[in-house]
Point group: D3
Chain length 225, copies 6
């Protein structure tokens, strides 16, 4: 590999911020904080460039009042609309049949007509995350939106075989992301947990495309032109 | 899946023709006709929308004069620039060391500074196609261009485990594609081989995104914003 | 690949219609219409060549009377025996524990002593299809029948990473298949949905073995001699 | 799994010995002894049931006279025709370009018009075995023969990720297999190497289909009916 | 491969019995007999070398009194502590929500602070085994123990794509393993089922590392130094 | 995942520094600097704990005098023995046949009788790295050493699907690693290339096992006990 390393080619300036400009993007996470951890920088960036971004939190398993307030703060920091799929009180995703969960997601797709959907990855190991991923898969039959998975989200690091195929430059929104994560005080500060690893991780991802900070996505289905 | 099938959501109009507009796209195929078969419709479309498209043919193993003429015709039909990587006469890809092949491709990347590179897939079974794919991989270290693989290309169908993650609507350029394929008379008409299967295949791919014709790509690396 | 393409070798005439002749084949689908879509042509062919073919529909989630009648029509068109696993009224597969579902399938295996079992694929994304696939896996311990998966079945196309390893020539039974699919009027005609894509898809699959129409299977376990 | 284990269902008698009866089967191995180790029992069985079986040995890297004589003995024990692809003296597979190797295999396919081809697996780690596997892949475009891979072949055991999807009952021919392996005295007895592990391995494979001895195959492409 | 086979290098004596000596190892199986079948030899060996080994049986679906007594006998033979996760009477794993199952396993991890956890594999096809595997995955976030999967466990052989990356020499404890398996009389002797295949299988695994008997593990996460 | 995150379990102190103490470990890299980048911290640590560590560099493609001197400095910093496999002057790995390369590696295995071998990964995309990985695979038949792959090594970051299953804590040797990398001045400082990303990457890997710095390995074959 050394042979060609002595001449660097500049990366072309490929802004696709306008890909979703003026359109709706729906991001789906199992619980509050998943979206901030997984794609907080991406969502803030999309918002800044004129997309309508819906942060859909599937359920709040407990501490409903505290956590819905944290979710609102996180969404506010990122400039996004918050939607609680199973709202009205604490609920667990497992308490709903998959066919009913698909039905709720179908309704949301019909309502928002998103240009892109971003959700958990099949590489995740949290059962609720996998249930959401599985339930999002069939919604693809309703429309031809772009469909992406984001990096598995944990409050503590566990090695996982997730390999991004697309990278979003979030250098301008990394601070918003970190700010949105810390909005979930009950999950981090309140338990003495550090959030700095998310910044470090975004920095290493940024190395992959030559920018200070990036988030990785796995492209599941994309309509090009 | 039946439950939600009774209401169809319209696919949002997501034109990204301008993603590569005014930029250079380099498509790399092992031999003449590979690019026409694999992504003829995509290349014509990119061209129509203002990209500078380079069709790079790695080598012409024999019948040099006939096949380079066919390659020129194919590129002309699609409106693209033709570049023969190993030019000057018949050569086989295997006759070049991989490190030298990488060197040639590196030079091309440095010269054209492409916004996207499209090449063969690791799912292909033709040894020359795999050699080109392998040699393209390390060129990614030189710049952060988008990197895609296209469907394995054969003159006769063999089942192959290729799974597209992106689809290009080529409804407007399917005729140009078919025209460009038939420009390779020595490979098809001259041997009594039918090219109709490429149209059929593009039609079935089109079903995946609700358009008359499409070509599938496997996203290897993409820079989003 | 061009080098050898100028001489075609004729495919040898390998009829294995008698592999299952005089034996029982059990095909298992989650809901009415899955078997017709996935392997309608194969089932009709097996029947024509003297196999006893059981179309096992796991459940009818709703519209019981209408859909059981459609299932009967579909089975009749294909000449097969229909069996409703969870009969007596509308039921959802998710409402049964997996161990109980395995128990029902075990009983069926013991009763029919099939020479082959065909069911959904792990590549499918419909949760009920996956539940049936998972529940069929352990039935393999009861006897050494051939075990195949068929292509994911949807009423609308979604890209799926299913790669057949075996192909059945259904040129003689494609019309029966199409006829059987349309028997499910509540799922297709009644919702304005087109079924023509199934014919197109079978035609492209047929290209893989040089026949007008084929269906692809993924060989999971096969006893050769 | 315990629930259903108390009642065993008898495996149905599914003889497919006549699948290839009266037809030609071509088995391809890199060097002498590979075919005996990988599928000696299968080849002997096919022969006993009336198939014309060609054992194609790609090359003899050294000790030509000794090893060709051993190869003849092995083929004789199994009742098969021996063909040396690169004959006339010691040659290494690596000394031939892949495109030329494909050309030789193409010629053989055209000559023998096989109903089935069996060769090494992509899971093998011996470079020559992989070269043969890769070169066999494109021959599939010439005709619609069944195409199988056999278990990686070594003179000493190394863990390998090979997963059979088909099993051949070789209980009647295991002795012929063992006899044919030991015909390669220069590789085993002459080096103090034990061959008993091949019998043990066939016995454990036999457990998978309820017979004393079996060989596993990975189905790559199969035409059913 | 023949070239280098004439000189054998002796395997270096790498005892790591002391890796877990004086530490706690937790082995988790869905039902009684799974641990004996999967890693009985490994557990006995760890015990003999001074590890504290906990055999955690997740549930006893029925015949509680008989099977808990058999589980006690099996654990006694291997010299291990027995723990029934869902104790007090017959229960099915499916009757517990995954989040509650994870909670129980979390509690066990916190209590025992294991240096290693061994559990089922994702390659298993028994639904209860998969549920246990899935529920063990997130426990990795609580501490940095080694995490291994063992071979799928069945009372009758079914081909499964499990490929070990580590092997434990159980030559000294194979008899204890076989003894512990037969302690589950209700599952084997009582149903006329043979256990000899487990010895044969361990012998073939032993071939992979040059010892009489071995058990294979798939390394999921390991902390080296 | 939130439920259990409020109580952290301390990682058990599992030193295996003595696993290879007093034994020989052979690390194989295609070119100078690959071993320092991939596993410099691991090698220094093994050395510090009494292993005999051989850094085997397969070839020096050019600038022989400069680069062999850098390789010597790198090995010296890590305290390891340097061995140039294809020594005496500049050579390219591609210029040697694979069977000859395997022969050289076989000889080295016979000479050093290593307890462990560490080499490139199949996930790497540099052709020379893959050639070395492929050639190391068959050496496993000669002895039962532990066999690991390390992370793909590049001078510029490219996303690669490598997934470690084992982690080595290199907190005490990260400085030695960084020092050894910079010894390759012609590759980094001399070209204005930054090496800081290797420290960042080791830090993120360290997160996975709760230490400041770690290196990831993929376990290919390991003998436990």
């Amino acid at each position: 590999m050394k042979r060609a390393c002595d001449t660097e080619v500049r990366p072309p300036g490929q802004s696709i911020a306008n890909r979703y400009s003026g359109k709706t993007v729906v991001a789906i996470g199992a619980h509050p904080d998943d979206l901030e951890i997984g794609i907080g920088g991406t969502l803030a960036k999309l918002r800044q460039h004129g997309a309508h971004v819906v942060m859909c939190v599937a359920s709040i398993p407990r501490d409903y009042d505290v956590r819905i307030e944290e979710a609102r703060r996180g969404a506010e920091v990122l400039g996004c609309e918050l939607k609680i799929l199973m709202d009205g009180g604490p609920q667990r995703i497992e308490d709903v049949k998959t066919c009913d969960l698909v039905g709720m997601l179908d309704d949301m797709i019909r309502e928002y007509k998103p240009a892109a959907v971003l959700t958990h990855s099949k590489a995740d190991f949290h059962n609720d995350h996998l249930l959401i991923y599985q339930a999002c898969l069939p919604t693809q039959r309703l429309a031809y939106f772009d469909f992406f998975s984001y990096h598995p989200t944990n409050c503590r690091p566990v090695p996982i075989a997730f390999h991004p195929t697309a990278y979003v430059d979030v250098s301008d929104t990394i601070d918003a992301k970190m700010h949105a994560i810390t909005a979930h005080a009950s999950q981090f500060g309140g338990r003495g947990l550090d959030t700095e690893m998310y910044r470090e991780f975004a920095h290493v991802q940024g190395r992959m495309i030559g920018v200070p900070y990036a988030e990785g996505l796995d492209v599941q289905r994309m309509v090009l032109a």
